[in-house]
């Protein structure tokens, strides 16, 4: 049984994650977003071992799902539709998640992990197996019921297809068969023994076998004719004195009849064990398949629950969101785009930027220190990654093409010391990027090559960016390397595909943190910042 809530035709991506997902996560600060996804906005109860209201598994799932870009507009639409359903049916999604959570937890307690190792073919193991089988079949029937109750209001292809699969693959007839199967073995595991004041209700078996004798006249080639669990009730006053299985006997017609006695007790137990163990041997795939269903349901609903949680926080802080529109290569526009993580951290108090970068293939951003350049670059990177996993983005409007290969090359604060080891590391990362570009790449450079002199850094950056530009690769770069920016500016005066942006800097020296089209200047206003902080 397949869940297929992440992709229309498979449980998990057939393509890999972003080439350097760990660096992207680090450069864009996405861990804060994953953490936000794990903050329960529905029931506000945390999972075991975590801070109240936080569920690290949800964070983990969101991280994994975000790490693998969707490849087509259809795939993105598929998830956007499911997310739209999730927003209107939050309690339903939460139930799906908690049912799978419960099933997997209980299974864990029954020793799921140890199951494959060690003791096989023992009575305690078999009893556990049957309990697991019951747990899983009950669980999947509950999921089916949940879907039946919630069908109203589900409009997405993904949820409706899962509803249909549950109906088809788990028809009433099949559900009944599964119950019969579990029930036939119930006596062995002592499932749901009932007790009341006046009598013991005991589960006893009825087994019929057909067998041959060609194995050295020993019982062999066995076929099971019947296997049933019978419920027998004993009156208390009689039951207590006698053995639990009682001594009710009736004389059956037959050729040889053996009444139970001590000697034959072992034979009876052997027959019980072997018959149940044989029938259970058929259930391996069933257990695996339902088990995988729950693993997947748990993982996939965790992602959607994470999206619900992020959206709740956005609504709380009045951060606008929209579902992005996938466009072709020539279109790249956004209205009031905010940097997602900073918005959450500042409770919505961040600058929004709008831009129409249609047909721009190289974007060079220069200007004031602390002017919002890096934030702007990150807002685009994060929105792009969120779009490519089907999520909403923090903007009133966002239109972009898909870039399956996204690369970030950020010089980090701790890297800034001039140090040939650092430069070496930067160059190595750049080499890795160029060796693994893939299809339609998007490269975000943030103050790359600031680890060497301005002159050297400019010349390195110029060579790399010029070559990438000529190869038609989309590059957004924030840079302090003014000789590099100047040289590019002079060379691309007539080039429509290159645009220069700058952090806005009012005449009175105030910074607005807005990014506007602007030619590069010879100063990055570092002196002003120096003055501001250290005084004149």
């Amino acid at each position: 049984m397949n869940v297929y809530l992440l992709f229309p035709d498979r449980e998990w991506a057939s393509t890999g994650p972003y080439f350097d997902w760990n660096n992207i996560t680090r450069d864009l600060g996405l861990n804060a977003l994953f953490k936000a996804a794990g903050v329960d906005s529905i029931t506000r109860t945390g999972s075991q071992g975590a801070a109240p209201g936080e569920d690290p598994y949800i964070s983990h799932s969101v991280k994994r799902v975000m790490g693998v870009p969707l490849q087509t507009a259809e795939e993105i639409k598929y998830r956007q539709d499911i997310i739209t359903d999730c927003f209107t049916k939050q309690a339903f999604v939460d139930r799906l998640y908690s049912v799978s959570n419960h099933v997997l937890d209980e299974w864990e307690k029954l020793g799921r992990k140890n199951n494959s190792a060690g003791e096989t073919n023992t009575k305690p193991k078999l009893i556990t197996d049957i309990k697991v089988l019951k747990l899983l079949t009950d669980g999947i029937l509950e999921v089916r019921t949940l879907f039946e109750k919630n069908k109203e209001g589900l409009n997405s292809e993904g949820f409706l297809a899962l509803y249909d699969r549950l109906q088809n693959e788990l028809s009433d007839e099949r559900a009944e068969q599964l119950e019969t199967l579990v029930d036939s073995m119930a006596f062995f595991a002592g499932l749901s023994d009932e007790k009341d004041r006046n009598s013991y209700i005991v589960k006893v078996p009825r087994i019929r076998l057909e067998c041959g004798l060609q194995d050295g006249l020993k019982i062999g080639d066995v076929k099971v004719v019947d296997l049933e669990t019978l419920t027998v009730s004993y009156n208390k006053q009689h039951g207590i004195g006698s053995k639990i299985r009682g001594r009710i006997s009736s004389i059956n017609p037959g050729v040889v009849s053996l009444y139970r006695d001590q000697a034959i007790q072992e034979d009876a137990e052997d027959i019980e064990f072997h018959t149940v163990s044989y029938v259970y041997s058929y259930c391996g795939n069933l257990v695996n398949s339902i088990g995988q269903f729950f693993d997947q349901l748990h993982f996939q609903t965790a992602f959607y629950l994470g999206v619900i949680n992020i959206r709740s926080q956005m609504m709380q802080y009045k951060i606008d969101y929209c579902f992005p529109r996938v466009s072709d290569e020539s279109v790249f526009q956004f209205t009031d785009l905010k940097e997602m993580i900073l918005s959450l951290e500042t409770r919505g108090k961040t600058v929004a930027n709008s831009g129409k970068l249609d047909g721009k293939q190289l974007v060079i951003i220069t200007g004031a220190n602390q002017g919002g350049k890096s934030t702007f670059l990150r807002s685009i990177g994060t929105a792009q990654i969120m779009m490519q996993c089907g999520m909403m983005v923090a903007a009133k409007q966002y239109k972009s093409s898909i870039h399956v290969s996204v690369f970030t090359h950020f010089t980090r604060r701790e890297d800034s010391a001039m140090n040939s080891g650092r430069l070496d590391e930067e160059l190595r990362r750049m080499d890795r990027i160029i060796s693994n570009l893939g299809k339609d790449p998007l490269i975000l450079l943030n103050e790359s090559f600031a680890t060497t002199t301005e002159k050297d850094g400019s010349s390195i950056a110029y060579g790399i960016v010029k070559a990438l530009k000529e190869e038609g690769i989309k590059v957004l770069t924030v840079t302090h390397l003014l000789s590099f920016a100047q040289q590019m500016y002079e060379e691309s005066a007539d080039d429509e595909s290159v645009i220069f942006l700058s952090a806005e800097h009012l005449d009175n020296g105030r910074r607005t943190f807005k990014i506007i089209p602007h030619a590069p200047e010879m100063t990055s206003f570092g002196l002003e910042l120096y003055d501001e902080i250290l005084g004149k």
Binding site: Q214, G216, D221, V256, A263
Partner: protein, 499 residues
């Protein structure tokens, strides 16, 4: 005497491989043999540790192995082998059984399996197109055995009794603390329920009671019921056992053992194939030793666990060239290359396929190796003496035209001495018309005498090991360029990377 290992039927093997010539360890062939013989009768390993007696026998085995590679033949022999295993189990059970009547039933089963396995193998071989003299002879031998009157009577007797026994069925009901027994058959409703619920799945119930031979109380009752109802069957079974106290054929017993040699390697080759490592039959050659896509089989086995890939290499040594001297950086694949050459010669001599995409191997009289023992506790003079001791058998006893693999000789000796001694060893072996490879860090040895070909383990532009071995003179390391150049990140280099 008919044999699958030797054309003449004489005992195979030209000599006992003496312990001083430890090429099984040196070439990691013992590791390969662990995989090949895993799960087979441990006795079979001996067959892999003796070379065929002659070039003719090598050819004889090679032809048989190519037949065994044929899927039809392979599955017929495998099936036959599994029946032998089953037969052995029945025989053991017969020995262990307490009741005479039980012994007789096991014996019946043993004979039935024996007879039907021979018939099935004969039918399968007749259906297959065989190319080898060895398997053709086997097919003739089986046909002959089967057509004899005594085999046919045995076949009729055993089949009749067996059919009767297998048709006897008992229905056993366990309910409310009692068992009820009845003769007859049922619809097996629950089985139908299971196959309805789990289509395509068929599991084995196994045996409910201990598979020890004594009867449980329940079984005892069943047997009594059965014997009461089928007196005539037991009478005829008793007569059968008296008529055929034994009926196994000695030649067939030997063939059963010998076929493991081929089956074990064929199964191993299939396993390698599923992991993406292919082998090929080596072509006979009058003098050229060559291979393309040659790899170290033992390394492939190790890497299979870690998922690492093995770098395949080329090999070409013409008729008038004698010895490779292989130099290059440490950890550059030198020893691996030497081993893969040795394995190539070993497997070709045994008649098997070789780990390469294609290969041509001439006849070598023998295979010798000498590997320095890195972890030897001995050092200095002690270690050198130890090395020379181990070299003695190669220098004194080696026949002409053997294949020799030497790895890092005289590492503890002074450079000048090591070069001088190395040259003498090479000169001696080349005079003996031996071929082989000498892995060393001493570039000077490439000029030791005529007939030597210099090989080098190559590095790439960044000075990293490529594990590729090429004909090349020993070289010094190249200088390192500036950082940007190193990462190929200049404008021109990037443009070049895209073109």
């Amino acid at each position: 005497m008919f044999s699958l290992l030797s054309k003449t039927g004489e005992a195979s093997g030209i000599q006992d491989w003496d312990t001083s010539c430890s090429f099984l360890q040196d070439l990691n062939i013992d590791q390969i043999l662990d995989h090949i013989t895993e799960g087979w009768d441990p006795e079979c390993r001996k067959m892999f540790e003796v070379f065929p007696a002659s070039a003719e026998d090598e050819e004889y085995r090679r032809a048989i192995y190519q037949d065994v590679r044929n899927e039809e033949v392979y599955s017929a022999l495998t099936e036959f082998y599994y029946k032998i295993l089953a037969r052995n189990t029945y025989s053991e059970k017969k020995e262990k059984a307490y009741e005479l009547v039980q012994k007789r039933v096991w014996y019946l089963r043993e004979i039935f399996t024996y007879v039907s396995s021979i018939t099935a193998l004969n039918d399968a071989l007749l259906r297959s197109s065989l190319g080898s003299a060895g398997l053709k002879a086997l097919s003739d031998f089986l046909s002959d055995t089967i057509s004899k009157e005594d085999f046919r009577t045995l076949n009729d007797d055993v089949t009749g009794l067996w059919k009767e026994l297998s048709e006897f069925r008992v229905i056993l009901t366990y309910e409310k603390d009692q068992f009820t027994l009845k003769c007859g058959t049922t619809e097996a409703q629950f089985e139908n329920f299971l196959s309805d619920l789990f289509p395509g799945q068929k599991n084995d119930y196994g045996v409910p009671f201990s598979d020890e031979e004594y009867f449980s109380n329940l079984e005892d009752s069943i047997v009594k019921l059965f014997m009461k109802k089928n007196k005539s069957f037991f009478k005829r079974l008793e007569e059968f056992c008296k008529k055929y106290p034994t009926c196994f054929n000695e030649d067939i017993a030997r063939i059963e053992k010998e076929m493991i040699y081929y089956l074990a390697f064929a199964r191993f080759q299939k396993m390698m194939h599923t992991h993406g490592y292919d082998m090929c039959p080596p072509k006979a050659s009058s003098g050229v030793l060559s291979a393309s896509g040659l790899y170290d089989l033992a390394l492939a086995l190790t890497n299979m666990e870690t998922g690492k890939k093995v770098v395949p290499n080329e090999l070409y040594l013409s008729d008038d060239e004698s010895f490779f001297v292989l130099t290059g950086p440490n950890q550059g694949g030198k020893t691996t290359y030497g081993r893969s050459l040795g394995q190539l010669v070993y497997l070709a001599k045994m008649g098997f396929d070789v780990p390469a995409a294609s290969a041509e191997v001439p006849y070598f009289t023998n295979l010798w190796t000498h590997f320095s023992v890195e972890e030897s506790l001995e050092s200095g003079r002690g270690k050198l003496m130890d090395e020379l001791e181990r070299l003695k058998p190669i220098m004194h006893e080696s026949q002409e035209r053997a294949f020799v693999v030497i790895n890092e000789l005289f590492t503890t000796a002074a450079n000048y001495d090591a070069i001088e001694m190395g040259k003498r060893v090479l000169q001696y072996l080349i005079d003996k018309k031996c071929k082989g490879i000498y892995v060393t860090h001493l570039g000077e040895l490439t000029g030791a005498c005529s007939g030597i070909i210099s090989l080098r383990a190559m590095v790439d532009d960044e000075n990293k090991q490529t594990f590729i071995i090429e004909r090349n003179e020993p070289a010094e390391l190249k200088g390192i360029n500036s950082q940007v150049l190193k990462y190929r990140l200049t404008y021109e280099q990037i443009k070049e990377r895209f073109s």
